[in-house]
Symmetry: C2
Subunit: 236 residues, 2 copies
DNA sequence: CGCACACTTCGGCGGGCGCCGAACTGTGCG
DNA sequence: CGCACAGTTCGGCGCCCGCCGAAGTGTGCG
């Protein structure tokens, strides 16, 4: 009983960090995988700098964020891929109900860039992420029927792309991440991150503004069609 | 911005449900996969019945719990496997730090039954869960090197056991679930649930008390040794 | 029926927490 | 230097929320 009590206290403490709208907004913003300054986050959330500072202190103390001080700036980012996954999972749990379709076309337009393509911390999501995942599966590079794992051919494919996959720590080579716009799993893990990095490096897609949305370039359309047989229409 | 705001509000609202120690205790208790009455949970958490009632109302309204009324009893259970996974993931995130080893031998003894073997909602965890997962992997029935998926031989093995695996909805056949005592992944998903159910049905293990802990029986030791080559010592 | 019991509703209390502005620290720049 | 600016600390305000006990509802049982 005592041990379950302390377990409950810890669980509640962790959830408390996310249970505030301002802090939740910070975490969602940081899902782009980059480091933000305290001031940027404060403006993004519409709170005073002092308020943001206190929130960041809690999130760092709670192990959800990592910080890096540079001069008079305090940069923060999600602590690691595991925290990012947790935030994604929580967000995915919410949106099914909050997925109430936007009423106005304007609002629909605002969300549709995110729906077309975005990053999930360090891998691709949205229609773009799903298209890539489906293509890999169709080509026999990824198995989804009995779990979620690359095939040996899949590992070779990444090597052929010039992006060898190296396991780091406990992170799996391939992992399923639930997509909150498509309601299906897309590729995460080491392979998902490697592919996303390569896509950005090679100019297959570029970030839009300061949000998580990405846009597929003409070069990207050609590369995805050639390498994975993805029809450009799929991505629009 | 507006859309990210509402996303943050939803995320915070979900986390708020878990951010209370009493409600967190309910969720952890319900991780045994069974239905509890409101009164049982109230006593378990040490709060008044009226307090528990209010908490249950929120958890049900938030979609985390499903309820079933029978006469004057209100039975609640976790809404589905997805919620169970979320709670497990959150709990796993906490315990690495809270894994501070218990000081007294008495406390160590209390926790060790859970560490030896327990259920995680509907599949096996603890040393028992890890041993089974490792054995399946060693026999080539489960692949963990490139993700987490059963092999074709693995699917056949379950059929041979008399437990055919049927996919229901989106739930994957095999999924990795992070074990908070062993700090490694064990088998979850349809296969994990089927194996756990079979283990309980066939008397390989029995539940201890009203908690999640399970104990491997003599019959279970023989079956696990014969079918998977698991040494009984591994489980003690 | 009428009692026992599980659960719910309500009012009220108290503590915790998020918010801000003002004052302070520390960094960069001219 | 001295100013501008990022971030922090602090005090105080107000609200939200979890808690309880008392009263109310509905079910089962003798």
């Amino acid at each position: 009983m005592t041990s379950s009590r302390t377990g409950a206290a810890g669980l509640a403490a962790l959830a408390s960090l996310v249970a505030d709208e301002t802090r939740a907004g910070f975490l969602l913003a940081l899902l782009d995988g980059r480091a933000w300054t305290a001031g940027e986050l404060a403006r993004h959330a519409g709170v005073a700098a002092s308020t943001a500072s206190e929130h960041l202190g809690k999130l760092v103390a709670g192990g959800l964020l990592a910080e890096e001080r540079q001069g008079r700036h305090r940069y923060v980012r999600l602590a690691d891929a595991r925290v990012a996954q947790l935030v994604e999972d929580l967000a995915a749990q919410v949106t099914p109900s909050a997925a109430a379709r936007p009423r106005t076309l304007r609002a629909a337009g605002a969300g549709s860039a995110m729906a077309r393509g975005r990053t999930c911390y360090d891998h691709l999501a949205g229609r773009l992420g799903i298209a890539v995942t489906d293509a890999l599966t169709g080509l026999g590079l990824l198995r989804q029927d009995t779990g979620f794992a690359l095939t040996d051919e899949g590992v070779s494919w990444f090597e052929g792309l010039g992006v060898p996959l190296v396991r780091t720590g406990r992170r799996p080579l391939a992992r399923a991440c639930l997509d909150w716009t498509e309601r299906r799993s897309h590729l995460a893990g080491v392979a998902g991150a490697a592919l996303c990095r390569h896509a950005l490096d090679a100019g297959w897609c570029v970030r839009i503004g300061s949000e998580r949305a990405v846009k597929v370039t003409g070069r990207g359309e050609r590369a995805l069609a050639e390498l994975l047989g993805i029809q450009p229409d799929t991505l629009r």
